[in-house]
């Protein structure tokens, strides 16, 4: 699916944008800068029209049906057959709801419309089920962890002197928070430079090896994390004889994260409009400058998102850390030796101990982990909410100001040239730039 990105006839049709007039509103519009074309593969689809809005009558009907179905189910459950159980109640209510809704709709609507309504309810309820499940995961975790979370020591102490039976005002998961941070920072240091350069290689190079690398990377996203852990355990620890440590864990997580980040970064970089590269090339920039000053900044938010999502994935991995670092109950700042706990592993170990307080600590640690993931996720949303090249208002203002100052500078230069009567000769290596530009053409 990689090379067909632009081959889709529909996509191509939709995305040929009329070129922006080069000088339109150069100091007033946010879109004046040359680096910001409007074209973007995903956004360009014509907007859909809203098809139908709910009428008041529909709402009344829904509410009435809901009420009557609950009452009916209560009747069946509580009085007539003495059933019990929340799950059963919910399912029966839902079925009764569907039946009543279908019948009542059929009073006023024809068959297709009734089917339409029932299906709409079914689809909506599936979404509700998914959301309720997610909410139950989140709230259940926070709820059971709350008794541990509300103690400040939970964030400032480790478990070195904490026995399983001890109260929650002793001991915390500092060691796991710090351990996770160290492991993830090291994994990022190992991963990000390689991943981004590799993604650049995949998008910018014409080398024949690109396809091989891309295939391998795609294949490696299928690597189960435990196998990555097992690989590092068998090589790094058993063959090379390094101790089980935070470093080993971060290597394992890197191996797992690397293909994930490369692939999403690859997708993001491919979304950078080719016209930008061409423009840069046409201005005579060598390729590395094009990449460094045009492609990467344009895709910055997307790249950040892909890295953050990679981190969110890696930070929650338990199995590789279990194999390569092992669990520790005390703070360890030395990643080169001794076990270093990570949050997910701590959660796993604490809850499997079973004592109430340990389980509460485990849920607390899970809540901390989830809070970290949430923060990362929201950050990714805020940064990555915009597609490649689209700027935040602040960035746009800065860009406009910069363009304006550039214009002043260029004007001044031109004025100086006119003064000295120097006729700017075309740059000799224009051919190089041109040939670069032509290579940007996408292959079907």
């Amino acid at each position: 699916m990689t090379s067909t990105l632009r081959a889709d006839p529909i996509a191509t049709d939709q995305h040929v944008d009329e070129p922006q007039p080069p000088n339109a509103g150069r100091s007033t519009t946010l879109w004046a800068s040359t680096t910001i074309p409007r074209s973007d593969v995903r956004r360009a689809a014509p907007s859909r029209r809203p098809i139908r809005s709910w009428s008041k009558r529909d709402m009344q009907l829904l509410a009435g049906v809901a009420l009557s179905s609950i009452c009916t189910t209560l009747l069946i459950f509580g009085r007539l057959t003495s059933w019990n159980g929340k799950v059963g109640f919910a399912i029966v209510t839902f079925l009764v709801f569907l039946v009543i809704y279908a019948v009542l709709s059929s009073l006023t609507e024809n068959r297709p419309a009734v089917i339409d309504r029932v299906m709409t309810v079914l689809l909506a309820s599936a979404a509700i089920v998914a959301i309720v499940a997610l909410a139950s995961v989140i709230f259940y975790t926070f709820g059971r962890g709350w008794s541990a979370l509300r103690h400040l020591n939970f964030y400032t102490e480790d478990l070195r002197v904490t026995g399983p039976e001890q109260d929650l005002d002793i001991g915390g998961v500092l060691h796991a928070i710090v351990g996770t941070t160290i492991i993830m920072v090291m994994a990022l240091v190992l991963t990000v430079p390689v991943a981004i350069t590799c993604a650049v290689y995949l998008t910018e190079s014409k080398s024949r090896a690109v396809n091989a690398v891309r295939t391998i990377v795609t294949a490696m996203t299928a690597l189960p994390s435990i196998v990555a852990g097992l690989f590092v355990f068998a090589t790094w620890v058993l063959v090379f004889g390094f101790p089980r440590s935070g470093l080993a864990a971060s290597i394992a997580i890197s191996i797992m994260m690397l293909p994930i980040i490369i692939r999403s970064a690859d997708v993001v970089l491919r979304l950078v409009p080719g016209s930008l590269r061409e423009a840069a090339a046409a201005l005579g920039a060598p390729q590395w400058r094009t990449v460094w000053h045009v492609v990467l900044p344009t895709a910055r938010s997307g790249l950040t998102t892909s890295v953050i999502l990679g981190v969110a994935r890696g930070i929650g991995e338990t199995a590789p850390v279990l194999l390569t670092s092992g669990y520790a109950t005390s703070l360890n700042l030395d990643p080169s030796q001794n076990p270093m706990a990570s949050l997910p592993l701590t959660v796993f170990k604490l809850v499997s101990s079973g004592q109430d307080n340990q389980v509460a600590r485990g849920f607390g640690a899970a809540s901390v982990l989830m809070a970290i993931v949430l923060v990362l996720f929201v950050t990714a949303r805020v940064l990555g909410g915009r597609p490649a090249g689209r700027l935040s208002p602040r960035q746009a203002r800065r860009r406009v100001a910069q363009s304006a100052s550039d214009l002043v500078r260029i004007d001044a230069l031109r004025a100086a040239r006119v003064e000295t009567n120097v006729i700017a000769a075309p740059r000799p290596p224009a051919r190089e730039a041109f040939s670069h530009g032509s290579t940007q053409k996408e292959h079907p």
């Binding site: 699916m1 990689t2 067909t4 990105l5 889709d8 996509a11 040929v16 944008d17 689809a45 098809i51 159980g85 799950v87 059963g88 297709p112 339409d116 299906m119 709409t120 689809l123 599936a126 979404a127 089920v129 998914a130 959301i131 997610l134 995961v137 259940y140 590799c198 910018e204 190079s205 795609t218 294949a219 299928a222 189960p224 994390s225 435990i226 196998v227 068998a234 191996i255 997708v267 409009p273 061409e278 060598p286 390729q287 590395w288 999502l309 929650g316 338990t318 199995a319 194999l323 997910p344 959660v347 809850v351 499997s352 899970a366 982990l369 993931v373 949430l374 949303r381 190089e432 041109f434």
Partner: protein
């Protein structure tokens, strides 16, 4: 967007003959090209090393038992009797249960997001589904082991009571007519693990499908409406056929994730090594759980056997993922999805 590159002949006149282009890189670009090439090769070699090492390590074990590796269910490498029949069967069963639960929910959610939800709700739902994908698997494991297990027992018992005539839902040792029968026969089962894994599969499938559904050409949608279709009619005749590739691809991707899940499954199941297709029955297994359970105490040969198991799991997920990508990319819709 690259169409403008070719020089056109706007003013008529003699058509341009294409120039011969030659590329001579500057020094900086040479460094750049070689640098990026090097990083590509580094990645290639790392990934190659992983694959190579997996194969190398497992040859020892595979060479000893040969095809028996696929047909033996017990796992006692030190006695020379081991195979992945049971673990792989259970792994696939868990994944299938997960997909069976997740598929209706994720298709319906994706359709709801793409076709029905109002604009504001839509972006919220998209975020929530993405968030669902970001929740660490250990948290799902907690949820499964502590909250779901108790609920699922009731469901399992009910299914077993009414549908035990279907071989899949039979439970050895369960006697629904005996109120004193043990609830333990329903715990730690493939089904419970499948429910937990389904939570991880839903967002993955949903994201792919939503992306595909949202690319339905507006012309076709509006055409359907113009012909008097209801919204469900439009979904049935336009959206679903258009997104079929995405549905299949998304399902396969979810399957790939479900196969490789370790810790959530490990927290829920009780491992067993006799093949059983009774998904409600206590005890299950998975390749990753096997590795997590046995890596520490494995002898050198045992480790090699674990590598062979890991390799086979990798192979399965690899095939599933490639098939998924193939479906997504071949479909009319999935051309630009990043599946």
């Amino acid at each position: 967007m690259t169409t403008t590159l070719r020089p056109t002949t706007p003013h008529g006149g003699a058509p341009d003959t294409p120039r011969t282009l030659s590329l001579r890189l500057g020094r900086s670009d040479k460094i750049f090209t070689r640098g990026t090439f090097a990083s590509g090769m580094i990645v290639l070699s790392i990934m190659g090393a992983v694959g190579f090492f997996l194969t190398l390590e497992s040859t020892d074990a595979l060479g000893k038992v040969g095809f028996g590796f696929l047909t033996t269910s017990v796992w006692e490498p030190d006695r020379g009797v081991f195979g992945i029949k049971a673990v792989v069967t259970f792994t696939i069963l868990i994944a299938l249960v997960a997909v069976a639960i997740a598929l209706p929910i994720s298709i319906a959610t994706a359709l709801f997001i793409a076709e029905i939800a109002p604009r504001r709700l839509r972006s919220l739902l998209v975020s929530l589904v993405d968030l669902m994908a970001a929740v660490p698997s250990v948290v799902y494991g907690l949820w499964g082991a502590f909250l779901m297990q108790g609920q699922v027992i009731g469901v399992s018992r009910w299914i077993n009571t009414w549908f035990s005539w279907i071989p899949l839902f039979k439970v050895e040792g369960a006697d629904p007519s005996n109120p004193l029968s043990n609830a333990t026969v329903y715990t730690a089962s493939t089904f419970v693990a499948g429910v937990v894994v389904a939570m991880m599969v839903i967002p993955i499938q949903c994201v792919v499908m939503r992306e595909v559904f949202s690319q339905v050409p507006p012309g076709e949608r509006e055409g359907a409406f113009a012909l008097g279709s209801t919204r469900w009619g439009m979904i049935r005749v336009v959206t679903i056929p258009f997104g079929r590739g995405g549905i299949i691809g998304g399902t396969m991707l979810g399957l790939g994730r479900a196969l490789g899940e370790t810790i959530a499954v490990y927290m829920v199941i009780s491992s067993r090594f006799d093949v059983s297709f009774n998904v409600l029955e206590a005890g299950s297994n998975s390749v990753s759980a096997l590795i997590a359970l046995r890596y520490g105490e494995a002898s050198e040969f045992g480790l090699s056997a674990l590598f062979a198991a890991g390799l086979s799991l990798f192979m399965i997920t690899l095939v599933v993922n490639f098939v998924a990508s193939w479906f997504v990319s071949r479909s009319r819709s999935g051309a630009s999805s990043d599946a």
